[in-house]
């Protein structure tokens, strides 16, 4: 952990969106996340990398309290979003999730029309006063999801009828429709082919201008391509966190070095 100190100091604190302090996660007896401190900046893509089972998804799901849905899961420590502890008793996870959107590993559009997929979030949060408002939100979100041109003529067709890559961009559009401030993505490209992957990666880069994006990926190339900050997890520990370029070219921890060079699978 010592090796993170110098980096923390150079972080511009005004720009911090999420900051975790001493975060511990347990699944029953299993200690899945061990004392993680991390600071995630606004308008930045932060990548979580690490071998399978090291706790990347678990930690990501802590950031919008999706872990609440797992009975045996217990979270300790503090996670501050804009300085407020999201695990505070007064915080309603539903409100939090409108602010911290999430895109899942497997594209999971609702089995409804493309329009309804996007409109669902704004509807339940009361973001649109009229049908016209909603239409505007749907179009804007689909444009941000870089999928508007492909679906504008079939908004009433089922979202499940799209290709995998289109479905994932639809899910991203759905996530941004509720006007979140943070976007969490758990291996968003793992079910996609290379072309769809590069489309989504381009999209992630654009999204950075408006959101703080956290992406879990098992592909180091992807982390290198899309992120500005990278966090390397290993066996539930945050081993190293810093500028993506520095992590990939000049890691300070030997474990990071061996993972990047392919020695830890």
């Amino acid at each position: 952990m010592n090796d993170m100190r110098p980096l923390e100091r150079i972080v511009d604190t005004d720009n911090i969106k999420i900051s975790a302090k001493g975060c511990q996660v347990y699944y029953g007896e299993t200690h899945a996340i061990k004392d993680v401190d991390v600071q995630i900046e606004d308008n930045t893509v932060t990548a979580f990398i690490g071998p399978s089972g090291c706790g990347k998804s678990t930690f990501l799901r802590c950031l919008n309290r999706m872990n609440d849905t797992i009975d045996i899961c217990r979270v300790e420590g503090e996670i501050l979003l804009d300085g407020e502890n999201i695990y505070d008793k007064k915080v309603d996870p539903v409100q939090l999730r409108a602010k911290v959107g999430m895109v899942f590993q497997k594209p999971n559009p609702f089995p409804k029309s493309i329009y309804d997929n996007i409109a669902y979030g704004p509807r339940i949060h009361g973001l649109a006063k009229s049908k016209a408002d909603l239409d505007v939100i749907v179009e804007k979100s689909l444009r941000r999801g870089a999928i508007w041109d492909e679906v504008k003529d079939r908004l009433d067709k089922p979202g499940t009828g799209l290709s995998g890559g289109q479905q994932q961009r639809l899910c991203i559009a759905r996530a941004v429709a509720t006007e979140p401030e943070v976007l969490l993505m758990d291996e968003p490209c793992s079910a996609l082919d290379p072309i769809a992957t590069s489309q989504v990666e381009e999209l992630i880069d654009e999204l950075r201008t408006q959101y703080s994006v956290v992406i879990v990926t098992h592909s180091m190339q992807q982390a290198a391509r899309v992120s500005q900050k990278t966090a390397f997890f290993h066996l539930g520990n945050l081993v190293e966190f810093g500028e993506t370029g520095q992590i990939f070219t000049n890691p300070t921890d030997p474990r990071t070095e061996s993972y990047i060079s392919g020695r830890i699978g």
Binding site: M66, D71, V94, M102, V103, P111, K112, Y120, P158, T178
Partner: protein, 440 residues
């Protein structure tokens, strides 16, 4: 060395020759397919036999033998009949007299024997009296009147009664059948579709011709309403709670196991429970469809809960994640996304549960919904729930238990009606499921 490599490439024999292992494997597979086909064929065979015997035994119940006569009763005759003690008997005599004179006109049956005519006719007096009391204007006018022939004459047409079998019978003698044949030729006795069977109510043990299933169909209908209104919301709510909201712990495990056990409890146990709790303790009326519905609700709930939970489980968790991910509450996620996807399964389970309840007999007998109770129609919609009535299967059971073979035929007819209702319910289930599934 060179040998070894060559052999390594030829570890297997020629592909065009089937080796013994493969032959045995293929034989086993062929045998298995044959067993499966045989099982299906056997099943279909029994189904066909069942359907055939039901139809053969049941269809005659839908026709009846009737005697048609143009009656002309004078006011004096009515007054005379009404003044006596045995009013219906007097009306019967009136009918016999008129039929006798018509027979004489047409030269049927030689000398008129009122007793023989009486044996041919069913219960005439009641109907006739009821008709003239309802239509006083008809007195003195010619009226076309159709009454049931006696159940033995009906049985004669349906092959149940033969001349040889009529030795020693005081209800119908062999020579009566000659009269019947002549009346049939003259068009006075005919067979027609028996609306009374579908729309009527149960009749006494001595009047199988007058017995109908209509009243108990209504009884079943009111019971099913109670079952649907109670078990669907309770069952679905319980399932949603258990599946989506309840913590997984010892307590919910115990509940879960017990619900499964409840589904296996014999129905008669629910019947005696209903008798003790609803009738003896809660003082609800006996033989009421309301109580029957409550008992059947208890029976149907486990079925609905089990199938609902199975269909909720079948909804992929990713849908719940998706909804929660955009900031839906748990309840919104369940009601907006999970429930619609589970609806076809819930519907199927509910209708299967209802169909089971529709065919259930034993618990109804315990709470007094036996067949002979269905002697009157309910007087109104709400009264239908509390007035004594029977239900289709209990009515069928009662008929089958009566000694007169004519009732046995009614029982088979009742089975057909019950099966038609079950088929309709299944068809509705299929249609609804299709409709829901079309919304992906």
């Amino acid at each position: 060395m060179a040998d070894a490599t060559a052999n390594a490439h030829k570890r297997h024999g020629s592909l065009t020759q089937v080796d013994p292992r493969t032959r045995r494997r293929n034989a086993a597979e062929a045998r298995f397919k044959a067993y499966g086909l045989a099982a299906i064929a056997l099943g279909i065979f029994f189904l066909v036999v069942l359907a055939f015997s039901i139809i053969r035994s049941g269809v005659p119940a839908f026709t009846t033998t009737v005697v048609s006569l143009e009656m002309n009763v004078s006011p004096a005759e009515i007054d005379q009949a009404e003044s006596g003690m045995l009013k219906t008997a007097a009306y019967t005599k009136l009918f016999i007299a008129q039929l006798g004179s018509q027979m004489q006109e047409q030269g049927i049956g030689g000398e008129v024997d009122p007793e023989a005519i009486g044996r041919i006719l069913g219960k005439v007096g009641n109907d006739l009296r009821a008709f003239y009391q309802a239509n006083p204007d008809a007195v003195g006018e010619p009226v076309d009147f159709t009454v049931n022939a006696s159940s033995r004459v009906d049985g004669y047409f349906k092959g149940r009664v033969t001349r040889e079998g009529l030795v020693d019978s005081r209800f119908l003698v062999a020579t009566d059948l000659d009269v019947v044949d002549q009346l049939t030729e003259a068009g006075i006795i005919t067979r027609q579709f028996d609306w009374g069977f579908l729309l009527g109510k149960d009749a006494g043990v001595d009047n199988p011709g007058g017995a109908g299933i209509g009243a108990s169909v209504l009884g079943s209908f009111f019971m099913m309403l109670v079952v649907l209104v109670l078990s669907l919301p309770i069952g679905v709510a319980a399932s949603i709670y258990l599946e989506e909201f309840a913590p997984k712990n010892r307590f919910t495990d115990i509940i879960e196991v017990n619900i499964s056990n409840l589904a296996a409890v014999p129905s008669i146990v629910f019947g005696i429970l209903g008798l003790a709790v609803f009738i003896q303790f809660a003082s609800l009326p006996q033989s009421a469809p309301l109580v029957g519905g409550l008992v059947l609700t208890l029976m149907t709930l486990p079925t609905i809960i089990i199938s609902t939970r199975a269909s909720l489980k079948a909804v992929p968790p990713s849908i719940r994640d998706a909804a929660l991910g955009v900031g839906a509450s748990k309840m919104q996620a369940v009601f907006h996304h999970v429930l619609p996807l589970a609806a076809p399964g819930i519907l199927t389970g509910t209708i299967i549960g209802l169909a089971q309840a529709l065919g259930e007999t034993a618990p109804l007998l315990l709470i007094g919904m036996v067949g002979f109770v269905a002697r009157e129609f309910p007087t109104g919609f709400w009264d239908g729930f509390v007035e004594p009535n029977s239900a289709m299967p209990a009515q069928i059971y009662t008929w089958a238990a009566r000694s007169d073979v004519a009732f046995y035929e009614k029982a088979w007819g009742g089975i057909i009606v019950l099966l038609v209702f079950l088929l309709i319910m299944n068809a509705i289930a299929i249609v609804l499921r299709r409709r829901f599934e079309r919304r992906w």
